[in-house]
């Protein structure tokens, strides 16, 4: 990642939220969040619907006034500035192209507002359209463009003002999956070229992990975790993050005894797990295990006797038994779900070649195991 101090234009794109809150009547949409997004970063606000991510974006854009707190962009506090004076540009979820204007006039709209003459603003608009490979469609009305093309026009319209910060509200959600991946790459490439801060709201963890330099996971109006995608994925801070980001199993148990740096837990039934954790005996510990770090094996003998419930499988800690509930082929991986007797099924992602060497079938008892070092302890959210 480029250093922020290297270029003054990057510093102009630094976005800082200080204890920003938004209430709609009694409902709290954003509950006092603080966040610093370095200039030139690609930041994804990630969370389920209603978590406050879109409201946060709209407050940065100026379309919503914070009930509390301040927003700074570059060196300026913009909390009271209108959207047009914040050096931000927003790309709307529905693209919000003006249906009565051609693609080039849509792109040239902000120049028209500033009184730029028609010929000059159209020339600039065409340059912008060229950047997103839409110059051949300059004369078309939005209704005559496909979803992907409309999105490019919307992007060109947002970029024509040379914003320091580009705000994208679920920009990929209206596209089909194939296009989504291509446009995603293009967004990332464009962001690298422009050096502009991108703040991208999404509910897709895959999108966030693929694009972001900084992933901000939000939950009920608060930031649950903010960090680099790799950190968030490999070390989710809370059970919520682990579940939302996907690919994790969340388990819990009470500390039964300590063994050096390890705490040995007993979970539901007689399951025993070792986790790297300083918790004292008697404390309840929650931890996450990545589904792709789990090894699955057939387990007739152990499970037949107890009817498929959780057992402390022979051979030490960090094994879990259950019955195969579902098998999903996903290409490189096979996703196997085990019913381990808890409300939340246990998931393992098995490389397809490994799985098909000795394929399991639904209803069969199986045992999952993982290295104690792969257990990641969660804090309470």
């Amino acid at each position: 990642m480029q250093s922020e101090a290297a270029s003054p234009s990057r510093a102009a794109g630094t976005v800082e939220l200080v204890a920003v809150a938004k209430r709609f009547g009694d409902a709290v949409a954003v509950d006092g969040i603080s966040l610093k997004i370095p200039g030139g970063a690609y930041c994804c606000l990630l969370g389920p619907s209603g978590c406050g991510k879109t409201t946060t974006l709209r407050m940065i854009a100026g379309h919503e006034r914070p009930s509390d707190g301040d927003i700074r962009i570059g060196a300026e506090v913009v909390t009271d500035l209108p959207p047009g004076r914040r050096k931000t540009a927003m790309m709307f979820q529905s693209y919000a192209l003006f249906p009565h204007l051609s693609a080039q006039d849509n792109v040239a709209f902000s120049l028209k507002l500033r009184g730029v003459k028609k010929a000059a603003r159209r020339a600039t608009a065409r340059e912008q359209l060229k950047r997103v490979h839409m110059e051949d469609y300059a004369e078309r009305l939005p209704a005559q463009l496909s979803g992907g093309q409309q999105q490019r026009v919307a992007l060109a319209r947002a970029l024509i003002t040379n914003p320091s910060v580009l705000l994208l509200d679920e920009p990929l959600s209206a596209l089909d999956p194939y296009l989504r991946v291509r446009v995603r790459e293009e967004l990332k490439r464009l962001q690298g070229e422009l050096g502009v801060t991108f703040i991208h709201v999404t509910h897709s963890q895959e999108e966030a992990l693929a694009l972001a330099d900084l992933v901000v996971v939000m939950d009920r109006g608060r930031i649950a975790q903010a960090g680099q995608p790799h950190d968030v994925y490999s070390r989710p801070s809370t059970a919520f993050v682990a579940r939302f980001i996907g690919g994790h199993n969340v388990l819990e148990g009470a500390v039964q005894r300590r063994d050096g740096q390890w705490a040995v837990l007993t979970g539901i039934g007689a399951a025993r797990f070792a986790v790297p954790c300083p918790a004292a005996v008697g404390a309840t510990v929650r931890f996450a295990v990545r589904a792709d770090k789990v090894v699955l094996e057939r387990a007739h003998a152990e499970l037949a006797a107890i009817g498929g419930h959780v057992v402390a499988a022979a051979g030490g800690p960090n094994r879990l038994g259950g019955r195969v509930q579902a098998i999903e082929y996903q290409g490189a991986f096979v996703r196997v779900t085990l019913d381990d007797g808890t409300a939340e099924p246990f998931t393992a992602l098995v490389p397809d070649d490994v799985f098909y060497r000795a394929p399991l079938t639904v209803g069969e008892p199986a045992a999952a195991s993982w290295s104690p070092a792969d257990a990641h302890v969660l804090t309470e959210s």
Binding site: G84, M90, P99, S110
Partner: protein, 279 residues
């Protein structure tokens, strides 16, 4: 096949009975001859020659078109801003509905009563004049208030402003609010949003409202008689007078010409704005 015809039949019959047949009758009668006492079935163009040969016709059309244009301008200005206020500034759906209904309340009384009710307000000793006299703003009653072009246009506006408000409000309610935000995001001021987004996207509603208002004023004969005190003419009034003298063929010829003129105006408006997507 038969089913399709049957399904279309009721509407076709209604249209035939109440639109095609009367207009056909009018067309037929417009070429009849007549005397003071008698209608003579015939095919003569004298009625049309009378219409086009008289300067009264042109003067009357000029006066009618002027009323239509003035009324159109005023109702458009008022209707647009009422619709804009209702659609964009009244946030709650309930209040939108309540205020919209308030706009329709004048329509619970008849046109004639609504026109007549202006007389005690605007008359020589009416509310406005006596109030101004008492306040010593004027020392003579204002004469132009009643039985004038002013009172005629005022009455038209009162009668027809809602026909402008409703279609414009409808179109505005269909404008995606994200478009307004997109304009604001691009740096548009409130006025620029109206000029560059709201007005262009409200055009179909403006066109429909304009058609209502213009056709209603062009065809009116009662309001103009009542409110101008008989001092102004209108095409409708001219036709009504001919009917009173039992000059049915002359009235029919006049009506055919009026119909053609109004249709031409409507066609002109539809050329400027495509209203099909609103229908």
């Amino acid at each position: 096949m038969v089913r399709a015809w049957l399904q279309a039949a009721p509407l076709a019959l209604v249209v035939a009975a109440f639109l095609v047949v009367p207009i056909a009758t009018l067309a037929v009668v417009s070429v009849w001859d007549y005397t003071e006492y008698d209608l003579i079935p015939d095919f003569v163009l004298t009625n049309y020659a009378d219409v086009f040969g008289s300067w009264v016709t042109y003067a009357t059309y000029a006066s009618t078109v002027r009323f239509a244009a003035l009324t159109w301008l005023v109702t458009l200005a008022i209707g647009f801003w009422i619709a804009y206020f209702l659609a964009f500034h009244v946030r709650s759906k309930t209040w939108q509905m309540v205020l919209f209904l308030v706009c329709t309340i004048p329509f619970l009384t008849s046109n004639v009563i609504r026109s007549i009710s202006w007389i005690p307000v605007l008359g020589r000793n009416g509310l406005v004049n006596s109030a101004l006299l008492h306040l010593r703003v004027i020392d003579q009653p204002l004469e132009f208030l009643l039985f004038s072009d002013f009172s005629t246009v005022l009455s038209y506006v009162h009668l027809y402003a809602l026909f402008m408000v409703v279609p414009i409000f409808n179109t505005m309610m269909r404008i995606d609010r994200a478009l307004i935000e997109a304009a604001v995001d691009a740096g548009a001021s409130g006025w620029q949003v109206v000029r560059d987004v709201v007005i262009p996207l409200s055009k179909p509603g403006i066109a429909i409202g304009s058609i209502f208002v213009v056709t209603l004023v062009m065809g009116d004969f009662s309001t103009v008689r009542l409110m101008s005190g008989g001092q102004s003419a209108s095409v409708g009034l001219m036709i009504s007078n001919q009917l009173a003298y039992l000059q049915y063929p002359a009235a029919a010829a006049n009506a055919m010409v009026l119909l053609a003129v109004v249709l031409a105006i409507v066609a002109g408006m539809m050329r400027v704005v495509d209203i099909r997507k609103e229908l």
